[in-house]
Symmetry: C2
Subunit: 348 residues, 2 copies
């Protein structure tokens, strides 16, 4: 395989990669930190998480080392005009990624409105096999595959995920015995697993509801819009408890935020924190969390801090799994599974 180790990550809009790291170790400090002598610098794969509003690309070696990273706002909804291949190749061009490098993609790029529809695998589904039925994007110069989503085919409560299944695969390797995973976001997912089998999942519209309620309803006057929330704010944690213990009152508690501003002059930061807490707490009630269980929290950044604090407030034992690390590992594992199944790995 041709190698371009020294050029990776030095071009165009490549973000600084904080050290070349082994996959699986790079989200926690450890004795292997900084041991670069055993790290592969041969690019073998382009891993892409392509969502509705974001694009993240990693140039990776076969052992999971991240050689370069690109992030942009060229999500699915931005791309329509220019075409998916053009956007992808412009990123790869700035990385001087060799033309033979395969690309594995997860996320909304595989939806009906995306690049090529990648379908769904119905639950119960073995998450380790999602790479096997990846969809090959036709007519492209390089080999590009898109991971399928997962679906709960149920008349009463149908559900879908796309992108999270790949995170979940990575999370499964991080926490093999995990029975429940919480994947917060615009549409938070709660996943039940038995070994590597996804037995079911439920989506809660928590993040999107926070956004429209704080930005588009009468509460915008009380919350100052859709801003940051501090995980340690007592109003956040009280909101979590109220949402969790009285979920039926949620749409009433929301209006109470407005009334609290009118009657008691409650301030925007506190109101926003309470709104966030109420919606997250109601999500916990819907997911039926129990104080005695361990939950794998697949998240990063501000959401990780909020959900970790909220779960801890409810007595849950939280195992943090970095969402970025998980999705990269999931993409790599999916590619290896695809290659093995399709007999391609040897030819590369």
């Amino acid at each position: 395989m041709p190698q371009t180790p020294d050029r990776a990550g030095r071009h165009g809009r490549a973000l600084p990669v904080p050290g070349i790291q082994r996959l699986g170790d790079d989200h926690r400090a450890g004795p292997d930190r900084g041991r670069r002598h055993d790290v592969s610098t041969t690019p073998a794969l382009v891993a892409v998480d392509w969502g509705t509003s974001s694009f993240r690309l990693w140039l990776m070696s076969l052992d999971g080392t991240v050689l370069a990273e690109h992030r942009s706002h060229e999500g699915m909804s931005e791309v329509a005009g220019r075409g998916f291949e053009a956007v992808l190749e412009s990123h790869l061009g700035t990385l001087s990624a060799p033309g033979h490098l395969p690309v594995v993609i997860c996320g909304m790029a595989g939806s009906r409105q995306g690049w090529v529809e990648a379908g769904y695998i119905d639950t119960p589904a073995d998450v380790t096999t999602i790479g096997e039925t990846a969809t090959i994007v036709p007519g492209t110069a390089r080999q590009i595959i898109i991971i399928p989503g997962l679906a709960v085919r149920s008349d009463a409560e149908p559900d879908v995920m796309r992108g999270e299944e790949t995170q979940l695969l990575g999370a499964h390797f991080d926490m093999p015995g995990g029975e429940r995973y919480c994947m917060p976001g615009t549409h938070s997912k709660w996943v039940s697993m038995d070994g590597s089998i996804v037995t079911g999942f439920e989506t809660f519209m928590t993040g999107e509801l926070f956004s429209v309620i704080s930005g588009k309803t009468i509460l915008k006057h009380s919350t100052g819009g859709d801003g940051n929330v501090d995980a340690n704010d007592p109003a956040f944690l009280t909101g979590v408890r109220d949402g969790w213990t009285q979920p039926a009152k949620t749409t009433h508690h929301l209006f109470s935020i407005r009334a609290g501003q009118l009657l008691y002059d409650h301030q925007a930061g506190e109101n926003r924190a309470r709104l966030s807490g109420l919606l997250i707490g109601a999500e916990f009630a819907g997911a039926g969390i129990r104080g005695d269980e361990q939950i794998g929290l697949v998240a990063s950044g501000a959401l990780q801090r909020l959900y970790h604090a909220a779960l801890a407030e409810c007595g849950v034992q939280v195992r943090d799994i970095d969402a970025d690390v998980a999705v990269r590992r999931g993409l790599l594992e999916s590619w290896q599974r695809f290659s093995t199944t399709n007999g391609d790995v040897q030819s590369r």
Copy 2:
């Protein structure tokens, strides 16, 4: 008192009044229907329900006969530039309303962002006395008063209403022994009463949530936006049951609507009906309805049909109270109370 009975209702944008009717009788057919010989045609009062997005004005006699009606979209948020008095007088001008006619107003015109802030009366509050502490608008040619709102001053669950207290007064006369009233709308109110005392109330953001969820979230692709819902649609009634019996699952059930469209091609009308049902059902759960109670439903039009069907689905005994009739009666009763308390009724 000068009289202009023949001119009322014949000018400008006055809407056709469906027969001159006695207040209290005009929302139901009865033996008195059409008996006009005992009906006063002397205008004595201008009654106005002035909300955030709507303006409704009735020219009334002292016995409650509606002599003319104006409706417009000149709600509080439209009026800011032109001034409240100018908008009011332009309507009164087209009705040739005598300059001495007093005006009684309820609704958001009495809020801090409105014409003149009319304050709140704290619960428990005797709804028959709301007219006593009406706020007089200063510096106007004619006497104009604004009815105060009601407030629940509670650290844990503060709440406010403005406009509904006047409807409630009218409803109380229609159903004197009523213990619970449901007042659906953008912000639905559930009111508990003991005789004429409002012991407490809770607001649910049902209508506004329906609007932003169907219009501003991913569900807009599934619901075709914020359109009509048929009260007899089985998807509506199933949604009501699911929202009522599993309120904690509401934000999950919302996303299921999207998944149902993707997996089963569920159509917009059905999806919109289910969304509406889920939110109304969750409101019922929050309000803690019991199958064996009687509830006064203060509503009109499409909302009345939806809530009546939804409450009936949950086994509640519904007493329908027309919201328009109730607010007019509330405005008249408030005016009479104000006049009596302030010694003005004799001078008019």
